[in-house]
Symmetry: C2
Subunit: 231 residues, 2 copies
DNA sequence: GAGTGGTCTAGACCACCCT
DNA sequence: GGGTGGTCTAGACCACTCG
């Protein structure tokens, strides 16, 4: 891991350990270069990183200050790591409903930016948080990028597997949100009436080399769907 | 405006003008330094900027590539410029429902991180897009930051006024999303039944010096609320 | 005016991709 | 192995904030 990243992790850990409140002033840049024995530019990269993560903010001519997340229990829409990472404890569980393969039809090919007929993996899962159903997920993975996947992997964290076993890193992602009336199948999965509404989030994940490898349709239970964005 | 920003704007404009498709390879870094007669680090800052905007992606050892937004008509949840900026044409209109002042109660004081009793401006507006109601907005501005606001300003773009007249820049923001059943007042404003659902987005905007100046509750019509996030 | 962050340079070396 | 992006350095100067 590069220096600027290590230092960012260390500073973030310190803020959390000391539980510093919003607005706490941190050391200035010159002190940070001395503390970590690196050049000013490296510290600047560290601070940009922490700013992007929503951990600090910088004010020209004044200083570097702590920024704290205000509300607990909200899922971040920015971090690109699938489901498991949004929860600090192990209270996130997934139940596999279906695992299989299929060929991309026109719609899937367009979303995954691959030719019609490309072989895909198909995964359907229900996600629970503290025993509550909160999301029905319907995902497709391009087999030309994700060379192998099976049922037992799909029962755990797919993104962790992609990262550690296949060395596929998420480069970037597109997410589309809207509100829909659930189909009877989805209403059934989420324990809803057909007259209720669900929050639908479609996601396309791209590897760090820019290939789309995952297209997911996620339907969130209206009572347990809470999201936040820091920017 | 700094060089790296000017160059970023110029490159983005070129991509849009030439309508370059996703995946188009751009000049490499060395060529860019020569084209714009700046150092490598300046180009690197430019590219980071464009990456954050979702305009390009970089692949180590390979090159710099165009990234295009896929769907039209979706509102970005990342850009921090209030309502008007989300629409390319002038089809966004706001109708002012209420303008006034009040003192912060406990809830508002907590959201705006100010003492109870701080004087606030209160604004209620309905937002239209292509003649359709899509959002009911209920906002509060801290008068200690926003020193002046009146009815006729609230009828146009408040953020544009804050920026140009008061020189208040948005430094960062927190946004919280969830689904709710509308109160009868809100159902009424949005032309909905009480059994429908709305997407509620609470937003807190901070100036570039880190002071919270705007707390808004926005209720989106379920049929016209479409959002996207690139990250 | 002293302190602090923001921009910019020039150059060295490393890590990864592709042919 | 040649090309390309990623990291890091050391130092100069600018722009803003605050007492």
């Amino acid at each position: 891991m590069p220096k600027y990243m290590q230092i960012a992790d260390e500073i973030e850990r310190q803020i959390q350990t000391l539980n510093l409140p919003q607005g706490t002033k941190l050391s200035n840049i010159q002190e940070l270069t001395q503390t970590y024995q690196v050049s000013k530019n490296t510290i600047l990269k560290t601070l940009k990183q922490l700013e992007d993560r929503g951990v600090i903010y910088q004010v020209q001519g004044s200083g570097i200050f702590v920024r704290r997340k205000k509300r607990k229990g909200y899922i971040s829409l920015i971090q690109n790591q699938g489901f498991s990472s949004d929860f600090e404890d192990d209270s996130e569980k997934a139940r596999l409903l279906n695992f299989g393969t299929l060929s991309a039809n026109e719609h899937l090919a367009s979303q995954l930016q691959c030719p019609v007929g490309t072989p895909l993996y198909e995964v359907e899962r229900l996600h629970f948080f503290r025993g509550q159903i909160y999301c029905y997920e319907h995902s497709y993975f391009n087999q030309e990028v994700v060379s192998f996947l099976n049922q037992s992997i799909a029962e755990t964290s797919i993104f962790e597997y992609l990262n550690q076993a296949l060395h596929i890193q998420v480069g970037f992602s597109d997410k589309y949100l809207n509100i829909q009336s659930p189909s009877s199948e989805i209403a059934n999965h989420l324990n809803l009436k057909k007259t209720d509404s669900v929050l639908k989030i479609e996601e396309v994940y791209y590897s760090s080399s820019g290939k789309a490898f995952d297209y997911s349709k996620n339907y969130y239970h209206p009572d347990h769907a809470q999201f936040f964005i820091q920017s």
